[in-house]
């Protein structure tokens, strides 16, 4: 069972920086593990804590929210506001018995294709080391 387990990781990423950065990783053919699925939003400010709860409740093993660097937000400060909320989320998850390492927020700019690949690699490694989400086991 655990042999076949592959982590399910959801990424919600902003259109202007991280999505563009992920596209750039593609143009540069920078290889990284395929264990991530992404949803594009215009700004990480859009990320409702509900989305995170929903993903983990549905059995996600890890989650990544990625936006512009501070000061670089296409909408001035959406990423600040997201970061505040995401920081809060980490402690909420912890209280729920989900290792907070399963969830992270990163900042990848449109020119940081290589960084995007590194971030995904790192998230996949971290989540793989942690194993399946405790909620997933609960579900089954």
């Amino acid at each position: 069972m655990t042999d076949e387990w592959e982590p399910q990781i959801l990424g919600i990423i902003c259109n202007w920086c991280s999505y563009a950065g992920a596209d750039l990783a593609g143009s540069a053919r920078t290889q990284y593990p395929p264990d991530i699925r992404t949803i594009r939003v215009m700004c990480t400010g859009r990320v409702d804590t509900l989305f995170i709860m929903k993903a983990f409740a549905n059995g996600a093993d890890g989650m990544l929210v990625s936006g512009c660097h501070f000061g670089d937000c296409h909408y001035l400060e959406g990423n600040y506001k997201a970061a505040k909320r995401m920081f809060l989320m980490k402690s909420v998850l912890k209280n729920m018995g989900i290792e907070d390492k399963r969830f992270r927020m990163t900042f990848v700019s449109a020119s940081e294709g290589a960084k995007w690949a590194k971030v995904v690699e790192d998230v996949v490694r971290t989540v793989t080391e942690l194993g399946p989400s405790p909620l997933k086991e609960l579900q089954q």
Partner: protein
């Protein structure tokens, strides 16, 4: 947000693009297509070599009618590339264009998982399933059309900015040309000659500068900086800071009721000013006063007071007399303008090459930069065009030119990129040396001579023929003779495989270029991204090289990446053309990703109001209740309010909570369990 089509059962068509082998090489298209047919709501699935081609788009158009589709999913490249294409096809097929969703299986899949066919195919399946889930819930939206202000702005008045402004203005658009320095002309006005034609730089630039000065559609604002930028394409509200110049133009004087007064550029003030400072236009090699012009050809010909060094003795005021042009108590003024589009042409500066300590710049008198050489060889420069070496004023006979001085440098000290025009100007410098100083000898220390432009290789040939010596070796070290200040340049002649140690009178470092100090500030004002190396980031390196991620903001010249004059001017014309299109069309369509209030859910708590960076939200009365109201024109669709609303009362069009949740569910609950 709630319409009758929503109750209709979704019928989604899925199209999978091979993109030649770009996608098909790493993903099993056949398996994908078969899988797509099993996804709930999918009534049709197809694949094609190139979905973006006319036959590919035709498939979508035809199928919408044939299969009565309510949503379209194309699994192909990034939506950042072809979303507009497929939206058009969707619209052509008779469906609202916003009922289209793209699954990125190229940039974020086949290209990054090239050696994991199974993993990539699984990922693509999930991506399509998620896209279908969203497409099933997409609604008809109407893009918002807004009128475009019939004015443009160009920031930076070097040759790029000048050209962009002239083009915009000549196409009938009122154009503000903003320059932070007291004069326009930029770097090009500091150059003596230009390669490969050897035109006098000032001679070809000055007419353009004069044109700018008298073009009826150009409002030139020198010594002015952009203070803030608000609004969006078509309607930018710009606040400009007109820095206190301490000197009135004739028009400004007249506005103050001083008839026939204002600065006429006579220079009497400068003569009496007791404060002496280095002139940055002359790279600090000549003095200027606290009241100054950079050089005699400045446009506009108006003096400027450097308030940082002015001692306010008032001698200049007395000397100016009845013209009353000088106001030592002047303060910065703020001016607001409204423009439809903007072109950024904020240029470059030299990399501080003293950081490469092995070459001794700023430690050895006779090691200078290329821009210093330009001024020293220029007839209007500090020495009247007499090339001398700084240590003793002697005429240098043997000069070394160090190419790639800080460029192509991966140490973290220099710049990893090629600065692109140093090879060519160094060839030009060698020519100028040979021309000016009989019996002189140039040595060019190079790694590769990159003479890629039109007539550039021919120019290289010519300079070689003139007797320039090319030594293929990057300079390892420069030592100074402590007595006579001659320089010993050490490298290896890599073609000979022999170390060389050449005694020279002077060395010119072809320093790398870098974004100006202000570039970062300007890009933040306009919401423009930066490349890894700090240059401003174009929307697409090949297909949209003048555009940026901010609609209505365009790039020209070196601020986007190193360029020589021909390329700068070409890009400036491109940027001007791109910037003029929305203005000439007169209106632009904005993506209707606005926030909307679901009033029955809104508790009127007002927490969203402060979250909006654009002040687009406000509380208002509706049917006796306090609810949030959106000013659509101000909303840019970031969704920060929607991400926070505790009651779920904000509906972000096209990124609505049910749509995103459907994607999450589709990923985690909808797969092959």
């Amino acid at each position: 947000m709630v319409d009758e089509t929503k109750s209709q059962k979704p019928r989604v068509g899925v199209y999978i693009c091979h993109c030649g082998t770009n996608i098909a090489g790493s993903i099993d298209i056949q398996a994908l297509q078969e899988y797509a047919k099993t996804i709930p709501n999918v009534v049709h699935a197809d694949d094609y070599q190139y979905m973006c081609s006319t036959p590919g788009q035709k498939k979508i158009e035809d199928d919408i009618k044939e299969h009565d589709l309510t949503g379209i999913v194309v699994a192909a490249c990034s939506p950042r590339l072809h979303e507009p294409t497929f939206r058009t096809a969707t619209k052509e097929g008779g469906l609202n264009q916003f009922r289209f969703e793209m699954a990125n299986i190229r940039e974020q899949n086949s290209w990054v998982h090239m050696h994991d066919r199974e993993g990539a195919t699984d990922k693509a399946k999930d991506a399509i399933r998620m896209a279908v889930a969203k497409a099933s819930l997409l609604e008809d939206l109407v893009p918002k059309s807004v009128p475009v202000e019939h004015t443009a702005m160009v920031v930076g008045a070097g040759v790029g900015g000048i050209q962009a402004a002239l083009d915009l203005a000549s196409s009938g658009i009122k154009t503000y040309l903003i320059e932070k320095s007291p004069t326009i002309g930029g770097r090009m006005s500091q150059l003596d000659k230009t390669f490969p034609t050897l035109d006098c730089s000032q001679c070809i630039l000055t007419p353009k500068m004069v044109d700018v000065g008298r073009h009826p559609n150009i409002e030139l604002m020198t010594y002015t900086e952009v203070e803030s930028v608000e609004g969006y394409i078509g309607n930018f509200d710009i606040t400009l800071r007109k820095k206190a110049r301490g000197v009135l133009t004739p028009t400004e004087a007249e506005a103050r009721g001083i008839v026939g007064g204002g600065c006429n550029g006579c220079g009497d003030c400068e003569a009496v000013c007791p404060v002496i400072k280095p002139n940055p236009f002359e790279m600090g090699m000549a003095p200027r006063k606290a009241i100054y012009i950079y050089h005699p050809q400045v446009v506009p010909l108006i003096y400027t007071v450097d308030f940082d060094s002015c001692v306010k003795c008032g001698l200049c005021v007395d000397e100016c007399g009845d013209k009353k042009a000088i106001d030592l108590e002047q303060e910065d003024e703020f001016v607001t303008i409204k423009v439809g589009t903007a072109v950024l042409a904020v240029g470059y500066e030299l990399f501080p090459v003293e950081k490469k300590t092995e070459w001794g710049y700023k430690r050895y008198d006779n090691v200078i930069t290329s821009l210093e050489f330009e001024r020293l060889i220029c007839a209007s420069g500090p020495t009247g065009g007499k090339l001398i070496r700084p240590s003793d004023g002697e005429t240098p006979k043997k000069i070394g030119f160090v190419l790639c001085a800080g460029s192509r440098d991966n140490t973290g000290i220099g710049k990893p990129y090629c600065s692109r025009f140093c090879c060519m100007y160094s060839l030009k410098h060698a020519h100028q040396l040979h021309e000016k100083i009989p019996g002189s000898q140039s040595y060019l220390f190079y790694m590769d001579i990159r003479s890629f432009g039109k007539m550039y290789e021919e120019f290289y040939y010519r300079i070689q023929d003139e007797g320039a010596k090319f030594i293929r070796g990057r300079v390892a070290k420069i030592e100074e003779d402590p007595i006579n200040k001659n320089l010993y340049v050490m490298t290896e002649d890599t073609l000979l495989g022999q170390p060389v140690n050449i005694e020279l009178d002077m060395v010119v470092l072809a320093s790398a270029v870098q974004p100006t100090e202000e570039t970062d500030h300007v890009r933040h004002l306009f919401g423009v991204s930066q490349s890894q190396d700090g240059w401003l980031l174009e929307a697409h390196p090949k297909l949209n090289p003048c555009g940026t991620t901010t609609a209505g903001v365009f790039l020209a010249g070196v601020c986007q990446g190193p360029k020589d004059i021909p390329d700068t001017v070409a890009q400036a014309e491109g940027a001007a053309s791109a910037a003029s299109i929305p203005i000439h069309v007169g209106e632009v369509e904005l993506e209707p990703y606005f926030a909307m209030c679901i009033e029955e859910k809104c508790a009127g708590c007002g927490m969203c109001i402060d979250l909006c960076p654009y002040a687009a939200l406000a509380l208002g009365e509706k049917d006796g209740r306090t609810v949030m109201q959106v000013t659509e024109a101000k909303c840019k669709g970031c969704g920060t309010c929607g991400g926070f609303c505790p009651g779920g009362a904000i509906w972000m069009q096209h990124f609505a909570t049910p749509q995103i949740v459907a994607q999450i569910d589709a990923f985690l609950l909808g797969g092959e369990q």
